[in-house]
């Protein structure tokens, strides 16, 4: 039971979801919308599991006085503050002037934007250490990257001023984007589609079942 039922559910549901694409008639016409609604509801329930897990791990750290347990307290407190304020402010928690939106704007946003901005530094360090013209493949990658980087800032055209107008870096960059880049994207996209079909089929047919705790 414990093993077969999930497999059966996956199989049947999978087939129904494939068929809905070809059947415009109700209820198949609704299946797509339902799934999106259901999924967001299940996700909202499941985050309770996640949140409890986060709290449990942090609490264990504090109790066990493991290294960095002080920060675990910070996690717990900031989580509780955010949740308490969010519940207290009710449905309108997002509106301008609420405490929740203040925390969002001055704590959450700068943290997330800065973390995002760290990428600029990592890009540079990866460029220095990792992007080597080891072979033809890597050289092509580098050349394309080079031309795009130069072509997309005004300085690129200033450097290539001696070339005819149509061969300056900004034009070359546009050319790369329009043709070879599109070809590569296509090959990758078609490959991905086929890989996806095959993976999905394996799951629907029950050949792949590790994630359901089935085992062979």
């Amino acid at each position: 039971m414990r093993r077969e039922v999930p497999l059966l559910i996956t199989g049947i549901v999978g087939v129904v979801f494939v068929l809905q694409y070809f059947i415009p008639h109700w209820p198949f016409s609704q299946v797509n919308t339902w799934f999106s609604d259901w999924f967001s509801i299940v996700g909202a329930f499941a985050i309770w599991l996640g949140a409890l897990n986060l709290l449990k791990i942090s609490a264990l750290k504090v109790i066990g006085k493991k290294s960095d347990w002080g920060y675990a307290i910070v996690i717990i407190i900031s989580f509780i503050i955010m949740v308490a304020i969010g519940f207290a402010e009710g449905k309108e928690f997002r509106e301008q002037g609420t405490m929740f939106s203040w925390l969002y704007e001055y704590v959450y946003s700068p943290l997330s934007a800065t973390m995002f901005a760290l990428l600029a530094f990592f890009v540079a360090s990866a460029s220095y250490r990792a992007f080597r013209a080891r072979n033809l493949d890597a050289t092509l990658l580098l050349m394309a990257g080079f031309l795009i980087m130069l072509g997309r800032v005004p300085v690129g055209d200033s450097i290539s001023f001696f070339l005819p107008e149509n061969y300056q870096f900004s034009q070359v960059a546009s050319w790369i984007m329009t043709w070879p880049q599109t070809a590569g994207q296509r090959a990758i996209m078609i490959g991905i589609a086929l890989g996806l079909v095959s993976t999905s089929l394996r799951i629907i047919l029950g050949i792949e079942r590790a994630h359901l705790g089935g085992g062979d």
Partner: protein, 334 residues
């Protein structure tokens, strides 16, 4: 002195500097700093010397620390903010295409602008949003704003606030509800677009501030996409341009252009090629070009110098890395 003490000292100095600068700002002691061309050249010279030093070190077989690379990037991005160098910005075809599409709209046309991004992506997309809204409103196009990301509607308000400071716009006496509306955020990703294809008001019962859809003069007669003359999507990921193209353009025949973060832009060229998109602004560069076209020099143009410097630094590091790689014999992994 121990490392610890040194580190604390550096933090202390930085903090002190910040406090002084901040107080200077608050009490008006310090004005904005602008380098003279001479100083700018010297700064550039110092950066180049630094890079030469790095090159020499690397050639000697000693890779410099990651932290030094980081320092260079920081300097290259910060310094141009203080410089007063202007650069010639050339318009790329996809930006021109967007401009043309908007420019040929007759007065009073309805333009739908979807804000599908949040603050972290704002540096790239906010300048686009401002320039686009400025151009539409100053040319008597009616703007309908919405968002598929929770923070999109707030970003739109920030953009509106910024452009209303412009004298030309302020003089027009634009009216909310008549010249532009902000319908706010709606959850549901591409399903929102799909349902909007049938009926806008089913998705947006009220606008951002809670006024009923039917009370808003601009949109009360807007039923679905067939009442929209052009649409512009500012996107930083999912849901974004891809979903708009797949649903609104492919199924409902909406005419659409987009502004994307540079990361996303490459994928959009496929749609541009196929004619599913009319116009594309890619990243800061796209924003700057569009600002030039609509004559609204904003942050895009201002940031372009830093962008140029940053690109040059990355390119310099790739070259340094590779020169060293070839000098040291190809096989050896540096």
């Amino acid at each position: 002195m121990s490392t610890r003490a040194k580190e604390l000292l550096v933090v202390g100095i930085v903090l002190l500097f910040c406090i002084i600068a901040y107080l200077g700002k608050v009490y008006g002691w310090v004005d904005t700093v602008v380098f003279s061309p001479m100083v700018s050249m010297i700064v550039v010279g110092i950066i180049i010397l630094g890079l030469v030093f790095v090159l020499i070190r690397t050639l000697q077989g000693r890779l410099i620390n990651r932290q030094v690379v980081f320092l260079f990037v920081g300097i290259a991005v910060i310094m141009p903010f203080f410089m007063s160098i202007t650069q010639k910005i050339r318009t790329s075809p996809e930006v021109q295409q967007l401009y043309d599409a908007v420019a040929e709209l007759p007065k009073g046309s309805k333009v739908l602008v979807s804000f599908d991004y949040d603050p972290p992506s704002a540096p790239e997309l906010q300048p686009m949003a401002e320039a686009f809204l400025y151009y539409c409103l100053s040319n008597d196009l009616k703007v309908i704003i919405m968002g598929l990301w929770p923070q999109g509607a707030q970003q739109a308000n920030l953009a509106l606030e910024a452009i209303m400071k412009n004298e030309k716009l302020a003089a027009k006496g634009l009216e909310y509800g008549k010249d532009y509306v902000n319908l706010g955020y709606q959850a549901g990703n591409e399903f929102v677009i799909q349902r909007m294809g049938a009926d806008f008001s089913s998705m947006f019962r009220t606008d951002y501030s809670g006024r009923h859809y039917e009370e808003l003069e601009l949109v009360k007669n807007v039923k679905n996409f067939s009442n929209i003359d052009y649409s512009f999507n500012l996107s930083a990921g999912y849901p974004g341009t891809q979903e708009w193209v797949q649903v609104a353009v492919d199924r409902y025949g909406l005419k659409m252009g987009c502004g994307n973060t540079a990361v996303q832009a490459p994928m959009m060229y496929t749609y541009l090629n196929a004619g599913q998109l009319v116009g594309l602004l890619g990243g800061m560069n796209g924003a700057a070009e569009f600002e030039q076209l609509v004559k609204y020099p904003g942050k895009g143009t201002k940031f372009m110098l830093s962008q140029s410097f940053a690109h040059m630094i990355v390119i310099a590091f790739i070259i340094i890395g590779n020169v060293a790689f070839f000098r040291s014999g190809r096989g050896k992994k540096l």
